[in-house]
Assembly symmetry: D2
Homo-oligomer: 341 residues x 4
């Protein structure tokens, strides 16, 4: 049984484990004040921009809740697409810090200024929350990605309405390595106020690098990390991993592999005349398959059944990763072809 | 420069890194539903008691805030010794979840029924919070440990007053391996309602195993984990480590080493006629040294200066760990002796 | 300019002011432990049922946030119709206490088991909040009311799924006095787990009587009142008013007047062939009028323009109250008729 | 039985009730947008300073929790004297909004720069909360008052350390009318960042006027009021009362009466050679009396027994108010004298 369920089924890229082993007996200070973390942050700044602040956290929900609760005052709310992770799969983590998340129906999982405009117009006075932060994911939860022009339009809208633009980058690697992508890591500080670079889903054991671009959001951030349980005693664990991922092109190579494997699946499923639930040029694809075929594939592969499409067909989610090998994909395609015949 | 600053200066015990390497390409489900985590939990249950619930988290603050906010209703408060970690070094993490922590002056960092009695008597009605949870640490933040009789007295008091007894075990290994200890891991479910076994400070990269003993506290606990950002996508990282720590006696061997190294320091400092701030039969000791000697030791060793004792002397904190070798301790003692002459 | 903007435009019914004046110099204990509050509660229990707990609070948002935060554990969420007051006009008060409110599209502002069923099915595991409390308003925010059979169906569903059924009764008087109503105050403990009787919008200066029917929700409730700032030093202010409202039929007489005035407006607007946005047999009606007519009416009357219906027509909200007199309604109708000609 | 238990035993000053009656049928907008509230705010600004913002709330706990949660970011804490109301009698209301309150031992219930200095020195980094707001009460919970020089010293310290100075004025009237007072209402905007003028304990039914002096604390405050349930639908109830209290000297006349009555008690108890627990030149006094005398006085008067002083004697609390008449005080003194003989 091979799993296409997600991009966190294996451990870490071997180079990361190796880096942990090699550094193991170096004594370092705790709580992210170690040399590895400091170097990783410097390295990331070189690639992103020198005037950002960077903090390393353990996971996506933790990063989202720590950042949003630090950035917002009590009456301020976030806006997210209905498919947004903070709305669907974080057990009310943002609300638990006191903030409403306003849900917006969004085509292909992506926010647009026109959706935000409607929210702004609806929230007119102090009897309602004040929309303040725009939460987007890139790639999105349904595999789509933002083009530079789309982000620029959101940026302009946010500037005009004094909104914070926050990008969940749990799968940022895959987005930036998509063949449809036209964004660079170094473009982001101009476009968003804060974002994170997901390590967990791109070859690390754990780790997300939160990048705070807007000066007014930087102050005292380490207090928030500590208060939310996000400051690891052995912060080196995060530093060592990001150092390894970014000291050469490893981070992007891993994302490229995931995307390449997804593309193979997408192409072959397309050739077999299957359609897709969403346009997803990243490492998650959502082909619509006959229920019977799905049942048969489940005998050899594990994946999520995403949603019913009609009585006969359902969309499934196939996720590839840094660890997916061509042989896994080829085997799946062969099996699919045999079953289709 | 050798560091006695804390017990999380190095990475992990090599066997743990090895276990991560060996299991690396096994595909597993996420969020603690992997086989490693399931086996680790089963193994721990065998050692502790079969009717407890166990969850693996990343760190101490995270474990404290997740557990306490899950266990308490909004008007209920925790009681802790003034030296308690939740009062002193967690940036108001418990208050951030809505709960007051009542501070109690406590001899040697340990709570006693008489202290709790005073709190209960003071909190008489709905104009004050309702004291509901007793937070203790074992070993404590100042190195002392609880005897079985002391815990039994607290347990009886808590039963009588319908209080939850919670034990922070960030350094439980060192406590249970102290030569003054008379507690077994399997005694704990009878004595406390919940506790955790600290991995981070006893050889793991990260990881605390929360053990919930009282049935009424178990329900829906995974919701709280997820909401607080404590459910790791690669939960296997925690499972693999605890499996390695407990599949034989490794966890205890590591604690025994830390304690042995601390004892060497304690004995030799005692022989040199230095006194100690606290009675600490665990891996943290607090010798009182002349400021001049401290300054000279700082040239070769790093450690925390804990507090001034008088104009000429201060208490320092020396922490040993699974990674401390006899040669480090011997070198320190030699240097100390030379400087004292 | 006469206002149909809401049912809290005037002060209090003169009998209430008189009761305040007459009792003014009697010395009483504070925080709801006065004789007036105690008597009011006893009186209400006689009318509702002897085994409920009753607490008097100042306003609707305060009552909602105090009750819901007391009733729910951190991971539990409320479900409300999209028009529900806690979703639309309380500035995220429930989220500020840590709880998500799940929004449901609901015909005529009323929840049904089938809507709840869909929510339950969607929330399958610990990655999502746990739906736990069903929030309904009677009368609803758009003037509709619940029939006994509808409440019974909700009750059955809630029993089956272990959900708490909570009724916002800010306008309960108007609901219970509607000509379409078939509920009695004494029916409610069987049907809902908690509800409140709105005084502010039915003749009191301030005041809502929260009735807790389910035993497990009663414990320590006064702690929550105090913590949320809801325990008035001069609690007598609330007690005296509810005593006056319920020592005879005053509460219901006032609601009957409001409904009668609304019905006059509804009937005459209907005769003039205007339609209504919602079916609202209570003291709020939402006629759809030509924008030109609305503009002219605004010269003499104030009211809310609720929403555009088409380019030419909008729905307005007309609210009547205990203080609305027949002459106000007649004048409005005359003016409307003149303008329509 | 006459009660000296508190200053909220009666209803309201008759002029206030009369103002409510006279304005009763004027139609007004809700939520503090009525003409009475607007006029009351203008009137208060004339007396305090034109560039402050003023909001009317219902009670002290509500005002404290709304203001502090609006002013503080999640990691910031308040500092209060150990006797401070937010520490002792608000059921953890501040903690429930997420903020720690740091307790300081304070002579006579009053904070001094030296106490604050110690707190600042202790809180050194992100492992601890960040002290940000200094909470004082004037008069204090034990009857003492702040001199202008004392407030100036606190103001200077707060400026130096970027702290917010907040004054709980539940009994500000009594403080400002003390014979030892040298502060004017119009001095306060220079000295504190926010304060409130207590109506409930000085002749109103309910009502506290929160005055925000520092510009950076003003933004969006009405959102916070609404979110915390503090925005009354019939906000006029608060406006009418403050208008009546401040349209001439009524507010101060009522406080002067309370103080005069307290002074009579203090003088006569002093003449009878009783001492006092605290120096309290306001409307609360804490004489130390023999337990036997206390028991006998309880036959005719109600009051709080504050604390045991020694096995034979206890301090009681006697509170006078706008409603206390000379005859009540004289009677108490006569009875006391008889019992002492």
């Amino acid at each position: 049984m091979y799993s296409f369920k997600n991009d966190y089924s294996e451990g870490a890229h071997p180079r990361i484990l190796n880096a942990l082993v090699e550094s193991n007996f170096v004594q370092e200070d705790g709580y992210g004040e170690d040399q590895f973390t400091q170097k990783a942050i410097e390295l990331l700044k070189e690639k992103i921009g020198t005037d950002v602040d960077i903090h390393l956290l353990s996971g996506g929900t933790q990063t989202n809740l720590t950042a949003l609760s630090a950035f917002l005052r009590p009456h301020e709310a976030a806006i997210a697409a209905g498919t947004g992770h903070i709305l669907t799969h974080e057990t009310g983590a943002i609300e638990a810090t006191g903030h409403k998340v306003i849900s917006v129906e969004a085509e292909n999982g992506k926010l647009k200024p026109e959706y935000l405009q409607a929210v702004i117009e609806e929230h007119t006075d102090e009897h309602m929350v004040k929309p303040k932060l725009v939460y987007i994911s890139n790639s999105t939860e349904i595999g789509s990605i933002y083009k530079k022009s789309e982000l620029t339009a959101l940026r302009d809208f946010c500037n005009e309405h004094n909104l914070i633009l926050f990008m969940d980058g749990a799968r940022l690697g895959s987005a930036l390595c998509s063949e449809e992508n036209d964004l660079k890591l170094s473009d982001l500080p101009e476009l968003v106020d804060a974002f994170y670079i997901g390590g967990t889903k791109n070859g690390a054991l754990i780790g997300e690098a939160l990048v705070i671009c807007r000066d007014s959001l930087k102050e005292d951030f380490r207090f928030h990390l500590k208060q939310k349980g996000a400051l690891l005693a052995k912060g080196r664990l995060l530093g060592i991993q990001f150092l390894e991922l970014f000291r050469d092109n490893l981070f992007f190579d891993l994302a490229l592999n995931a995307n390449k494997m997804a593309k193979m699946l997408r192409d072959e499923l397309g050739k077999a005349n299957f359609t897709f639930l969403t346009h997803s040029p990243s490492n998650q694809i959502f082909p619509i398959l006959p229920n019977k075929l799905i049942a048969e594939l489940q005998g050899k592969y594990s994946f999520h059944i995403w949603q019913k499409v009609d009585p006969e067909n359902s969309a499934i989610r196939l996720v590839t990763s840094w660890a997916t090998k061509e042989e896994h994909v080829t085997a799946f395609i062969e099996d699919m072809k045999k079953l289709v015949l």
